[in-house]
């Protein structure tokens, strides 16, 4: 795996793309697109799939009246069909300092960038539109959803320019995003989510309230879950100047308890709000993570 993400032409590994592009990227719910596509729309349209009957109201096109039903019931009913539309997908990447945490030769941010690049490529290939939001202590990049190759090039340029820095303000950013994206869309968030879990779940609830299909990629490292250090360590926060010297053996048990409680609450909250939650260890290869994601989406 090449670790060089500063070159936008190297962001997507062709082999990974070749493997994954056979899998369609599907939205789980209804999405509202501008063009005809492969995803279900909340609006009735002209597909072959029957949706429902509804009573005729003045103003409806009389050509849509089902005359056979009229013959049987002596009432006017309109026959409606499902509409297919394209997908609008927004990638939300946390580029705060903590995303610079490295393990197994790759940082969380690199992992997120490579995953987003591949998924964006797949989506554009299937005529969907993709947008990109990068944030740390505020929204750093905001690229609206479009489906052209040129647009994809712009997204790759932004991705290759990302550097981990700043403090995470994910809660505010996600709330803002929920309001800002006014049409139903698929939102994929890549972050380590190291913030207060209840506030975070509020954000997820907000997004679901806005009827977005939300998937979160929780980027973690095995080192963070274990805290396996054998002697005193000075832990330096990657987002602030805060540091603390402690004996890991002393706090290991409590650390693990806190960490596990956080993870449990996160999973539980995501289940509650029907958020597609994905715990990702950056020590695993990203193509495997993405393959699992796409496979589950395709079912």
């Amino acid at each position: 795996m090449s670790l060089n993400i500063s070159d936008k032409n190297n962001l997507v590994d062709p082999e990974v793309l070749a493997r994954l592009s056979r899998l369609p990227m599907c939205a789980r719910g209804l999405v509202e697109g501008s063009f005809s596509g492969m995803h279900r729309s909340p609006h009735r349209g002209a597909s072959v799939e029957f949706a429902q009957y509804r009573k005729y109201v003045p103003g409806d096109d009389v050509n849509n009246i089902d005359w056979r039903v009229y013959a049987k019931t002596d009432r006017f009913y309109i026959k409606e069909f499902e509409a297919d539309t394209n997908l609008r997908c927004y990638f939300v990447i946390d580029s705060s300092g903590s995303m610079g945490f490295e393990s197994g030769g790759i940082s969380k941010l690199e992992y997120a960038v490579r995953s987003v690049a591949v998924l964006a490529q797949i989506l554009v290939q299937q005529s969907d539109t993709v947008g990109l939001q990068c944030f740390s202590d505020g929204l750093n990049f905001d690229i609206p959803a479009r489906g052209s190759a040129k647009h994809l090039g712009n997204i790759f340029s932004v991705l290759s320019s990302l550097k981990p820095s700043g403090e995470t303000k994910i809660v505010k950013v996600l709330h803002d995003l929920a309001e800002k994206i006014n049409r139903r869309a698929l939102i994929l968030v890549f972050s380590d989510f190291f913030t207060e879990v209840e506030e975070l779940l509020d954000c997820f609830q907000h997004m679901k309230h806005r009827k977005h299909d939300l998937a979160v990629f929780h980027l973690l490292s095995e080192a963070e879950t274990d805290l396996n250090f054998d002697r005193a360590v000075r832990f330096m926060c990657m987002e602030t100047n805060y540091s603390i010297v402690t004996e890991p053996a002393l706090i290991r048990n409590d650390y693990r308890k806190e960490f596990n409680a956080y993870m449990e609450r996160m999973k539980q909250g995501c289940r509650e709000f029907h958020v597609d939650y994905r715990k990702v260890f950056i020590e695993e290869s990203y193509d495997k993570t993405l393959a699992n994601f796409l496979l589950e989406r395709a079912r």
Partner: protein
């Protein structure tokens, strides 16, 4: 609490090592950029109190473990009765009491080591085994003696100091024999000793037998050793060595007493006064002694009319009153004839001259080689010298009887033709001749003891200057070499007989054609020593060692005729040194010397000697007023291990943490 090796306590600050390591580890932290700092902060807040307490507890346990280890190697002694009590309460207690002279050293307020030991044992018995059956086996009498109660122990005659020695292997054997005859419940053997090496005889093969016997016992036996140690080493002792008797032209017959004064080797040179007492007439003298052993010779007054004179040498009182006097008797002329039988008159004359160098040959009986030896001849003889074959048959039996009754016999090879007597138990072999440039010399002989021993002044007999031109070895005979020539073959043979008699064979003749043995410097003193040894059976003076001679102390015939120390009058016949008159003989009893040595055995050695047994060692400095002290380093070692085990449990992660 006191310690056997207190200087090791200097290492006690080492118990701070765990803290130092902890602090060093804290200083040697590594920096890590961390994303999940929020959990570190939360964990630090919640775990500060309990985890820190736990951490400090672990550190504290480590410190205690190190401290306990240092204390253990310092070999702590625990005062009080706890250590003694730990072994349980016995049904019967057998006390093996060392009553040797060394136990008479006074400590502190005038109490001697043995009294201190008996006091401690009594106190221990009252507190830990009040209802136990108590048996005492003391080193002098060696007979198991029932004691009606712990309180009377110190009033028994068998718990006072004697001038005999102690033999712990033998005492253990007596104890085990008692247990075999009187099996009981839980039995403990309590040993009271100053750990003198001579008393414990660590190299004695008897320990094997003791261990086998204890192993075979049906009752469980616990052994407790009370090792009484004194820090005082300024004791001085005197022991008798011998009476020298020689003649000079100017002064005639001269007697000298030779004795050894022993003191601590660190004492250095000093001049001490001593009292020489002969027939109750005291003479004050002063002698120079060195640190360690000093042999002293003092000339004695001539005895009147060849009567036996009784005397003693006394040095000033010190911490041990039992080793300051030695006794002697002298003045008795050598008794018993010297029978000389040779096939050569020149040889007979030469041997007579060597046996009686000052010309008093009236006690010599010179016989021709053809004369048959009779019992009446031998009955009055001290020494029988023969140049010829050892007789066979009836005559041979008579000589054996003579030897068994304490007589001395010396045989030379026949100077003439050897007539082989096939019935003899000792047969001479062929005569070997050596050229003048290849003469045989004597190279090995016993300089410590016997007829070739060095003189009292330390000069050796000139055996090395003997040149042997002709030699005949024994071809047959159950006898051992006594000294060796340069080719490793015997110069002298020697055989002991039960009645202190000795049979010697010399492999060369004191004739010029055979050797230069007849020159005198060797032959004269050797024959004189043989004559002295042989005449002991006629002597009215019987030397002995306290505790080694047994005679009926209640007999009317027993009289203590000479003793400097009135305090020992109550132990006549049971170990008190002095001169006794018994059965028409003067018995000169001096104290046993085996306990004079300052060498001791360690407690570990004693535990090793009594292998596979439950042995508890209790060391007690007799100068201490405190009660019994027990070595408790094992407990400290166990405590140290316990601390480490608890520490490892505290470090083991909980199941839910794994």
């Amino acid at each position: 609490m006191s310690f056997i090796q207190p200087y090791l306590l200097l290492g006690l600050p080492l118990f701070l090592i765990p803290i130092l390591i902890h602090l060093l580890n804290r200083l040697r932290y590594k920096s890590v950029a961390w994303a999940a700092v929020m959990f570190i902060m939360k964990a630090t807040k919640s775990s500060t109190s309990m985890a820190k307490i736990r951490q400090w507890l672990i550190l504290f346990l480590r410190m205690l473990a190190v401290a306990a280890l240092i204390l253990a190697i310092s070999r702590p002694l625990m005062s009080g009765w706890l250590g003694w009590k730990l072994a349980g309460t016995p049904d019967s207690v057998i006390i093996l009491l060392d009553r040797s002279t060394g136990m008479g050293c006074r400590v502190g307020g005038g109490e001697n080591i043995l009294q201190k030991g008996v006091d401690l044992i009594s106190e221990a018995g009252i507190k830990t085994a009040p209802g136990a059956k108590v048996i005492v086996i003391d080193s002098l009498n060696l007979n198991p003696e029932f004691v009606p109660g712990w309180n009377v122990l110190k009033f028994l005659p068998s718990t006072s100091v004697s001038q005999g020695d102690a033999n712990f292997p033998l005492m253990f054997k007596k104890a085990v024999n008692y247990l075999l005859k009187n099996p009981g419940g839980l039995t403990e053997i309590w040993c009271v000793s100053d750990m003198n090496r001579g008393s414990w005889s660590p190299n004695s093969p008897e320990w094997e037998e003791v261990n086998e016997k204890i192993k075979a016992l049906s009752v469980p036996v616990i052994i407790k050793v009370l090792a009484l140690k004194s820090g005082t080493r300024n004791n001085r002792s005197v022991d008798f060595r011998k009476i020298l008797n020689y003649s000079t032209k100017a002064e005639g017959n001269i007697y000298e007493v030779v004795f050894n004064i022993m003191q601590d080797s660190a004492a250095g040179d000093s001049e001490i006064p001593l009292t020489l007492s002969v027939n109750n007439i005291n003479t004050q003298k002063s002698v120079k002694v060195n640190g360690g052993n000093s042999l002293v010779r003092v000339r004695l007054p001539k005895p009147e009319n060849n009567k036996i004179a009784l005397g003693a040498v006394k040095i000033p009182d010190d911490i041990n009153l039992y080793d300051n006097t030695c006794y002697f008797a002298y003045g008795e002329p050598l008794k018993g004839k010297v029978i000389i039988q040779a096939d050569n008159s020149y040889l007979s004359a030469l041997l007579t001259a060597a046996a009686f160098p000052v010309g008093d040959g009236s006690n010599a009986e010179i016989l021709d080689s053809e004369v048959k030896i009779t019992s009446s001849l031998l009955n009055g003889a001290a020494l029988y010298i023969s140049a010829g074959e050892f007789p066979s048959g009836e005559t041979g039996e008579k000589i054996f009887k003579f030897l068994n009754s304490g007589g001395i016999a010396l045989f030379f090879p026949p100077s003439g033709i050897n007539s082989v007597n096939s019935g003899s138990k000792f047969i001479w072999g062929n005569v070997n001749k050596f050229s003048s440039d290849n003469v045989m010399r004597v190279t090995v002989w016993d300089r410590e003891d016997g007829i070739f021993a060095d003189s009292v002044s330390g000069s050796q007999l000139p055996l090395g200057s003997i040149e042997i031109n002709k030699r005949a070895l024994l071809s047959t005979g159950d006898i051992k070499s006594y000294s060796l020539c340069s080719d490793g073959r015997p110069f002298f043979y020697k055989k002991h007989f039960s009645g202190k008699g000795c049979l010697y064979f010399c492999t060369t003749l004191p004739l010029d054609s055979w050797s230069n043995l007849g020159g005198g410097p060797v032959l004269v003193p050797v024959l004189k020593r043989m004559r002295q040894d042989g005449s002991e059976r006629f002597s009215e003076i019987l030397p002995g060692e306290c505790g080694k001679m047994s005679f009926n102390s209640k007999s009317n015939e027993l009289q203590k005729v000479y003793s400097e120390e009135s305090k020992e009058s109550d132990i006549v016949g049971s170990g008190g040194a002095g001169i006794y008159f018994y059965n028409n003989k003067f018995i000169v009893l001096n104290r046993a010397q085996s306990s004079d040595s300052s060498l001791t055995v360690s407690g570990d050695k004693v535990v090793h000697l009594l292998k596979d047994k439950k042995v508890y060692l209790f060391s007690q400095k007799v100068e201490n007023d405190s009660a019994l002290q027990a070595e408790i380093w094992r407990w400290f070692l166990i405590i140290s291990f316990c601390f480490l085990i608890v520490e490892s449990f505290m470090l083991t992660p909980k199941k839910e943490d794994l």
